[in-house]
């Protein structure tokens, strides 16, 4: 997962230069810490039924930026989480720990 090597902003969509510090060097991190700010369960799409047990979530990344993930399970808005390379979401107890 990419993040800015200078200020660690790591939102999406991808940029050539960091929107916060204008650095153009990007690194790669294993996981990002953030907070769930929205969720939704999709039950129908393009005429087909879906598994609502795999909700979508909008994550506000602690270092800066937003990412949309899948497989949010029953996690609620406000939950502190980490998102890994496979876009799996894991709750954490204290972001500052």
């Amino acid at each position: 997962m990419t993040d800015c090597t200078k200020c660690h902003w790591s939102g999406m969509p991808a940029r050539e230069t960091c929107p916060r510090c204008h650095n153009s060097q990007w690194g790669d991190v294993d996981a990002l810490a953030g907070t769930i700010v929205e969720t939704t369960k999709v039950t129908r799409s393009f005429g087909g039924d879906l598994d609502p047990a795999q909700p979508y979530a909008l994550i506000e990344v602690k270092a800066g930026g937003f990412r949309i993930t899948h497989n949010a399970h029953e996690l609620e808005v406000g939950t502190s989480v980490t998102v890994d390379q496979a876009m799996n979401i894991n709750p954490i107890k204290n972001l500052d720990a």
Binding site: M12, A14, V42, T43, Y56
Partner: protein, 385 residues
């Protein structure tokens, strides 16, 4: 034809409109090219012109590919001095008007046909969603069920929490637009809809249910813009401006670029929001209508539920008086021009009876989801000539 550069900027008039029926895509039988042609011919007939009278052409369509405006110019025997292909989806109608107005007023063209529409066959719409841009292709490819509904469901949840809105608030807007659709012979859905119908409809992506999600249809719209007024049924294009990417996709999406566009519109036209008789607000989702009504200044950010009810009841201005896309349907990129036709017809007494006599109208465009919400906003103000 050789045009001399005008010594001063010329006025621009909208002198003809055309529109096909909007048909749910699975039932539509006409191709994109056929739909665009039909709308174009109707607009030209309305203006009393033929293709040979044009020296400019602008098109917007997702499914006209691999063709572009020059291909349609050849098919339709137009010899343009000015061409444009807009790829701004729901903002394409105003995008084309903004540029065409400048072309005509500066003398680059005299008469421009603006046409927009789509037909989605088979997996066309699925392909469009999955390959909308690099962001969708790379970020959402492995996410089953990802679509604009997913994104705007999350935006709607946030709007409900921030402003204390309920499903019934959104429903009141959707039901009011369905009332308007009864008078629009082109609308895909005209059957009356009650709030109970709305509230009991199946959930698509919570909190969005069926009637919150714009129905995909096939259809096309067209207008003719000219330096010459057409007696009795012309609409003056007063001002058209845009603000794209206002926040770099780094805010909550509850405000659009309209807030930055409108001061220019008011300054250039001499009108204010209080002067607007008919208003078309881009309505792919009710939450986006509410966001734009706030940006326009018609809806305060406190007591939103009560204010929305009062605004809809007041009919000052008439909002989405064709039924909007939520009832007429969203004909792909053509949706960007549907509101223009709606307002132009209202200003020439061709819209719903209640809107007859309207003098000033505003059309707001919105679109192009670059990650979480639309990145394009624009507006055009029109006046009965």
């Amino acid at each position: 034809m050789i045009q001399q550069p005008p010594s001063q900027l010329r006025e621009v008039f909208l002198i003809g409109t055309g529109q096909t029926d909007f048909v749910p895509s699975h039932r539509a039988e006409q191709t994109t090219h056929e739909l665009l042609y039909r709308a174009a011919v109707e607009a030209l007939n309305d203006a009393g012109l033929t293709f040979a009278d044009l020296d400019g052409l602008a098109i917007s369509s997702f499914t006209v590919a691999p063709d572009h405006s020059i291909d349609l110019a050849v098919r339709w025997n137009i010899k343009p001095q000015w061409l444009m292909d807009s790829c701004l989806g729901g903002a394409s109608g105003n995008d084309m008007i903004q540029h065409a107005q400048q072309a005509i007023s500066s003398g680059s063209a005299q008469r421009i046909l603006v046409v927009s529409g789509d037909h989605f066959a088979g997996d066309d719409f699925k392909d469009l969603v999955e390959n909308y841009n690099m962001s969708a292709r790379t970020n959402f490819a492995q996410m089953p069920g990802m679509s604009p509904n997913t994104l705007f469901a999350m935006l709607t949840s946030n709007q409900m929490r921030v402003y204390g809105l309920t499903k019934s608030d959104y429903g009141s807007l959707v039901v009011r637009q369905r009332d308007w659709a009864a008078e629009n012979r082109h609308a895909a859905y005209r059957k009356p809809l009650s709030l109970t119908d709305y509230l009991s409809s199946p959930v698509i992506a919570d909190p969005l249910s069926r009637y919150d999600c714009v129905p995909v249809v096939s259809g096309a719209s067209a207008i003719v813009l000219s330096a010459d007024k057409c007696a009795g049924k012309s609409v003056r294009v007063l001002s058209s401006h845009a603000q794209h990417n206002p926040d770099n996709q780094d805010s909550d999406g509850l405000s659009t670029g309209l807030a930055q566009v409108l001061p220019k519109i008011w300054q250039q036209s001499g009108y204010t929001i209080a002067d607007i008789d008919v208003l078309s607000v881009y309505d792919d989702y009710p939450a986006i209508v509410i966001a734009q009504l706030m940006d326009i200044g018609l809806l305060p950010k406190v007591d939103v539920s009560e204010s929305l009810a009062r605004l809809l009841a007041s009919q000052q201005p008439y909002i989405n008086s064709s039924g909007g896309q939520l009832s007429a349907g969203q004909a792909g990129a053509g949706a960007g021009l549907q509101g223009v036709v709606e307002v132009a017809r209202a200003l020439t007494d061709q819209g719903p009876i209640a809107t007859h006599g309207s003098r000033v109208g505003l059309v707001c465009g919105y679109g192009m989801v670059t990650y979480r919400y639309g990145s394009c906003s624009n507006a055009t103000i029109l006046e009965r000539a």
